[in-house]
């Protein structure tokens, strides 16, 4: 059983803040398929469309029949840990700083009989090189393999015990591969909307040490905000993401004390292109949803990146609440969708930069939320509480792209299949 994590001691201020080291990041183009699944929290392996062989590690052609018709397919990950070892010496600085580190070989249950080329066991079932959770018993034992993103943002495989164990998420490897809010300091940029308030509550429930909550326009009396302010874990700070000076002040004030930033500041209106004359509203959406994110990234990004290895409660994650409409425009929320598309694009660039110091950028692409500006939309709508749960699950679980809710999942699949078909369906007023 993993040792329960105790609240870490305060940092010794006379010691240097260590530079963040990364595990080896380069992957071949084919191997990035594994990362693509892990980014969504799915364990996928190549399966040959011609002979059915399951393949690991990823390659350009099927090792059994040489077919290049290989499909990334979700796998259960159930298998047997057949061997393990504990690394006590490493040339890679990242692992050197984290020794000892447990590794092993897992034989997956599923697979197709074959001639048993290298990398496949005799029955053709792939054997995987995996990180091994501390709660896995000595081999042979049953395990679950999950594809996780490491600090460099690349897929690695982790063997977990077959059934959940107490304090499982406190295992050092799990902690390293996730962004668990437990004992970490979280900054929720806007606590005056329902999503922000739900995120604050979810972070408190997930064991955050301290939740900073941004407040713009202090004169606005918004239901629920006083209750949020009264939570003992919460400290309210002034932040208006449309005001560069306010963002700079806020970052100067609390920037070095933010381990997880969740950007909940959002402007949302529902207009067709011609439905709102002029650009005042569209500008307000861009001002908050896009420029607001850019200002936050410029002021909070560097200090968070400098703290990627700052003790056990280091800076680990930046969470953006985007929209499935960022991928394909919903014409009756035209300018909102466009502002989220801009934010989506910026978030990709942020991710490329922040991965270099181990800070994960997590993007959520929900379908319509059950909030005021979607009043006229029919269900299903994602409640703020469900969205907040999805954020916590992503932080605890290791995905970086999250599609919470049925509509988001459906749209995402259709968008992957053919963006043009989705565009036309949406134009027909789906």
């Amino acid at each position: 059983m993993a040792t329960p994590l105790k609240k870490p001691k305060r940092k010794n201020p006379v010691l240097r803040t260590r530079a963040p080291m990364l595990p080896p990041a380069p992957r071949s183009r084919i191997s990035l398929g594994l990362t693509s699944g892990a980014a969504r929290g799915v364990f996928e392996l190549q399966v040959c469309r011609d002979c059915g062989a399951v393949q690991y590690p990823p390659r350009e052609a099927c090792r059994v029949c040489l077919s290049d018709r290989l499909d990334w397919t979700p796998r259960s990950g159930a298998g047997e840990l057949v061997a393990h070892t504990t690394l006590r010496h490493a040339m890679e600085n990242y692992f050197r700083e984290r020794l000892p580190w447990r590794l092993g070989i897992v034989k997956l249950d599923s697979g197709q009989a074959s001639g048993g080329p290298p990398g496949q066991s005799e029955s053709g079932t792939p054997s995987l090189i995996v990180h091994v959770h501390g709660d896995c018993a000595e081999p042979p034992c049953r395990v679950r393999v999950r594809a996780m993103l490491d600090r460099a943002g690349q897929a690695v495989l982790l063997a977990l015990p077959e059934k959940d164990t107490p304090h499982m998420s406190d295992d050092p490897q799990m902690r390293e591969l996730t962004c668990n809010p437990k004992f970490r300091k979280v900054f929720v940029t806007d606590g005056k909307n329902p999503v922000g308030q739900a995120v604050v509550r979810a972070m408190v429930a997930a064991g955050s040490d301290l939740v900073w909550v941004g407040e713009a326009a202090p004169w606005k009396k918004i239901p629920g905000f006083e209750e949020i302010k009264a939570l003992p874990e919460v400290t309210v700070v002034d932040l208006d993401v449309t005001n560069p000076d306010s963002v700079k002040r806020c970052a100067g004030q609390i920037g070095p004390k933010v381990d997880i930033l969740v950007n909940t500041a959002e402007q949302h209106r529902a207009y067709t292109v011609g439905g709102r004359y002029g650009t005042e509203n569209a500008r307000a959406e861009m001002e908050i949803n896009y420029f607001g994110l850019l200002r936050l990234a410029q002021e909070f990004g560097p200090v968070m990146m400098s703290r990627g290895a700052d003790t056990e409660t280091n800076a680990v994650a930046w969470v953006n609440i985007l929209s499935i409409f960022a991928l394909a425009n919903k014409p009756d929320q035209s300018t909102f969708s466009a502002s989220k598309a801009a934010a989506h694009s910026l978030a990709q660039a942020m991710r490329a930069g922040m991965h270099k110091t181990g800070v994960r950028v997590i993007n959520l692409y929900p379908g319509p939320l059950d909030v005021e500006w979607n009043q006229e939309l029919r269900p299903p709508k994602v409640t703020p509480a469900a969205l907040a749960r999805a954020i916590v699950a992503a932080l605890q679980g290791g995905a970086e792209d999250v599609y919470p809710g049925d509509i988001a999942k459906d749209w995402y699949e259709r968008w992957r299949r053919d963006p043009k078909v989705l565009e036309r369906e949406l134009a027909q007023g789906e």
């Binding site: 004169w219 606005k220 005001n243 307000a284």
Partner: protein, 261 residues
Amino acid sequence: MNANPLPDMVRGIAERKIRVIDLTQTLTPDFPQIELPPEMGQCWPFRLEEVSRYDDRGLAAYWNNFSCGEHTGTHFDAPIHWVSGRNLPNNSTDTVPVENMVAPACVVDCVKHVEQNADFLLSADFLRNWEEEHGKIPPRSWVLMRTDWSKRADPESYQNFDEEGQHTPGPDTDAVRFLVEERDVMGFGSECIGTDAGQAMHLRPPYPCHYYIHGAGRYGLQCLTNLDLLPPTGSVVFTAPLKIKQGSGSPLRVLALVWEG
């Protein structure tokens, strides 16, 4: 007027016999903006973005871009701002006669009443009583409502919202009609975010100050400060808005001259 009085005036300013008083709030992103229902179009708050600050964006220079609405910070309301003044001649910031930008001011002290009641409404009777003490309000002069509201430094108490909206003082309908119809004033000025009271949407008609003042081709001043430094009568205020084509208003620097002798 035969002899040119301007050299005397300039000398008076230099010798501090005439004091120049700034009635303007500083333009800063922290100053609150008029708050409208969220489905309505919104007036931008003041925002400042650096162009360069002696850095790689421009080694020799510090400068900014700023953005704001016409009705941001201490600002001027032209008659075209309100539907009642929309068809009047010379009703926008580019056509307001410049002679109207220099005018005497009457300062009506409402501080004690506002301390008791944030929703205080200045009435016609209150103005008549003021005239008994200070004399009749001269035609073409500003009436400035002194409330010391500008001393509320934090935005929350300056805006003073609760769940029924904003609670700030202003004139009632009779007071506005008295000033426009019986005293021919140049305009009405307030220390609050609007010339009308915070709850003025519930008056009849809604927003009477905007409705009658602008309907008569007269002007408004909002977010004034330092009214406590002006005498009840005898000062002169300078109120030149930016010359925005078809502008409905403009942030401006409001200066007052006060004779100290």
